[in-house]
C-alpha cells in the first residue's frame, strides 16, 4: 500500500456542533463508494493526534453506512461546552469546515480507481512534497 495525502475536503463534506462538552463532527463521503477511504483516513488515532491537548477525553468514530458518513465524537473538547467555554466558537460550529482542509492519507491505487481527484495530492502530510 502506498499512501498519498489529500485535503479531507476532497473525500468528504461535513457539519459540526456540540453535545454538551463533546464536539460532534459529521463527515459524509462525497460518493458512497468512497466511504471506506474516509473510514480509513479519519481514525480515532488521527483525530486524537490532530486535536492534541484540546481533546480532554476520547476520540470516537461511528459509522453511518446508509449515507456513507462517519460521526466523530471528540469527548470533552469544548472546555465545558457551549455555556461554559470562553472560546469565541463555544459550540464548535466552525470545526467541521476547518477540518476539511487538513490532509489525510489515502491509498494511491484505490483512490485512483475510485475516481478520487488527486490533483492536490502530495507525498507528505504538510502538503510540501508535491508528487512527481
Amino acid at each position: 500500500m502506498s499512501d498519498v495525502w489529500i485535503p479531507l475536503s476532497v473525500l468528504a463534506h461535513g457539519r459540526s456542533g456540540d453535545k454538551g462538552d463533546h464536539l460532534n463532527i459529521g463527515l459524509i463521503a462525497h460518493h458512497l463508494e468512497w466511504f471506506e477511504l474516509l473510514v480509513d483516513a479519519v481514525t480515532p488515532a488521527r483525530l486524537a493526534a490532530w486535536f492534541g491537548p484540546m481533546l480532554k477525553g476520547d476520540a470516537l468514530v461511528y459509522r453511518l453506512n446508509g449515507i456513507g458518513a462517519i460521526n466523530c465524537m471528540l469527548k470533552h473538547a469544548l472546555e465545558g461546552g457551549g455555556t461554559t467555554s470562553l472560546r469565541l466558537d463555544a459550540q464548535g460550529k466552525s470545526w467541521g469546515q476547518s477540518l476539511l482542509r487538513l490532509r489525510v492519507p489515502v491509498d494511491h491505487r484505490d483512490a485512483k480507481s475510485l475516481g478520487v481527484p488527486l490533483i492536490s495530492a502530495t507525498a507528505d502530510e504538510a502538503g510540501q512534497v508535491v508528487l512527481a
Binding site: 475536503s9 459524509i28 460521526n71 455555556t83
Partner: protein
Amino acid sequence: MFEAGCLDEFGDESPPSSRIIRIGGGGGFWGDRVDAPIKLLQEEPLDYLMFDYLSELTMSIMAKQRARNPTSGWATDLTDWLSVGGMEALHRRGVKLVTNAGGANPEACAAAVLEIAASIGWTDARLAIITGDDILPRIDDLLESGQKLAHYETGTLLQDSGRSLLSANAYLGAGPIGAALGAGADIVITGRVADPSLLVGCMLDAAGWVENANEQNLERNIPIDEWAPESVSEPLDVLAQWTVAGHLVECGAQVSGGNSSDWASIPELDKLSLPIAEVGIDGTVAITRAMHGGGRVDRRIVAEQLVYEISDPTAYITPDVVIDLSEVTLTEISTDSVEVAGARGKPRPPELKVSASLEDGWFASASLLIPGPDAIERAKACDATLRGRLDATDLLICSELIGAGITLPPGIDSDEHLVEPAELLLRWAVVSNNRDEVIRFTREVAPLVLTGPGGVSGYGARGRPRRQLRHWPTLLDRTLVESSVRCDVIGTKDVSQVREIAHQTAAARRGQHGRGIRLLGRLHDGLEYSQLTRPFARRIATRVPEVLELREGSR
C-alpha cells in the same frame, strides 16, 4: 381532521396509509429570521408549522429573564412575527402551530399569543399550554427523595456542585402535544420539549394515534408507540421515521441550504427559504422546501443535517423512541426533494434528560484590532500587557488571536495553513467568581489603545459583567416528571386570566430566585405551581379519556 391544503393533491380517495402531512420548519433558534415563517405560511400549503426556539443555553437565559420580569422568559420572536401577519396567515390557512417558544414562562407566552389572536378578530382560537417540564420548584423534594441528579458526563452529584441552581427542565416528549392537538388546539405552546418531538406530536394527531388512544381509554403516560392503531405493524419504526423528520427540520433552513459546505453554490442565500417535511402517517418521509425563495434541498444538504449534533448513531435518544440512524438512506426523488428511509426504532428510555443550569461566576469579553506588520507578535505583546495589569487571583482569561488559526487544532497552525496576517482581532473572554475582577478587566481594555503596542484600535463601549452559566445535563426517572405534566386548553376570552397566572407564577419563582436556591436543604415554600394554575382553565389530558370528553364537549 385533515383539512389542510396538501390533501388537494391526493384527494379523499388515496388510501389512509399513504396520507402525507406537510409540516413546515419555521426556524431553528431564538434569534432566527423573523419574516421567514410568514412567507412560508403565505406561500405553501401546510398542515402544521413547528418552530424550535430552545437550546441548552436559552432555557437558563429565559429563567433569568423571568426572575426579573414576570411577563418575560419566553421567545419573544414568536410574537414578533405573529403580530405582523403571521397570526392572520395561520388562521386563514388553517395551519396549526406547535412551538416550544414558551421556554421558562409558557403562560406569559400564551397570553401574548392570545392577545394577538384577539386583535385580529380570531375569537374562537384555542391554545394549549403544556407545562411540567420545569422541575426547579420540585428540586428539593426530588433530592430529598434520593434522586442524585448527577451530571451525566462527569458523574458529579448536583448537591456537590456548590452552585446555585437557576433552571432545571426535563425534555418532554410528543405525547402531550398530540393530546393537545387531538383536543382541538390551534396553537400549542410548550416549555422544554425535545426538538424533534414537536413534529412527532403533530403526527400523533394527524395519523389518528391520539384518537385511537382515546377510543381505547389508554393511559397518557404509556409509551406512545402503544397508542398506534392495530393496523400499524411497526409503530416504533414509524416513530423513528417521524422523529428523524423532526430532527431534520428542527434547525429550520439548516436543511434547505443554510450552513452548508456547499455554500458557494446555494442559490439566493439572501432569500433562503424554510424546509417542509412531507411525512406519511405510515412513516414515509421526504424533505423539501418552500419554493418561493432561494436555497436547496439535496442529498448532501440533508446528510449534513442528519449528522448534526448526534452522538452514537445507533442510539439517537429522544423521550419518545431510541433511533438507529446507521442505515438511514437519502434519495433525491425530484428537484429539492429528498426521501429519507430506514430509521429503526427501539423502546423509549426509562429516564428523561434534564437540562439544568447553575450560576458559575461572572463573565465579560472584549476585543481589539491589531494591525500588522508582525500582527501576531504585536497581539501577544498586547495580551501580555493586559494580563500584567490585572491583579487577579480568580480570573480565568482566554485570549484568542482571531485570524491566526483559532479554528484549527493547536499545532496545526503552521505551514500551508497560516500566512502572516495583515491584521488580527485579539479577543479576550474572562470569568471569575469575583465580579470586581471582571470589572477591572473591562476597564483595562480600552486604555491599551493609548498604552499598548502601536496601532491598536477598535475598542467599543466598556463591557458589563454578566452571570456565567454552567450547563448541567442529568437524567431523571420519567415517571417523576410525567406525573406532573399538564396540558391546559384555553380560548381567546381567557387571556386576562392567563396573564394573571403568568404574573403570579413568575412572582413566586422570583421569590425563590432572590433567596438563591442553594441545593443543600429545603429553602422554598409557599405557593405550589399546581395551585396557581388550577383555577383558570379547563384542565385536560391528565388522562387521554378526558381529552376525548373535552373534544366532544367542544363540538
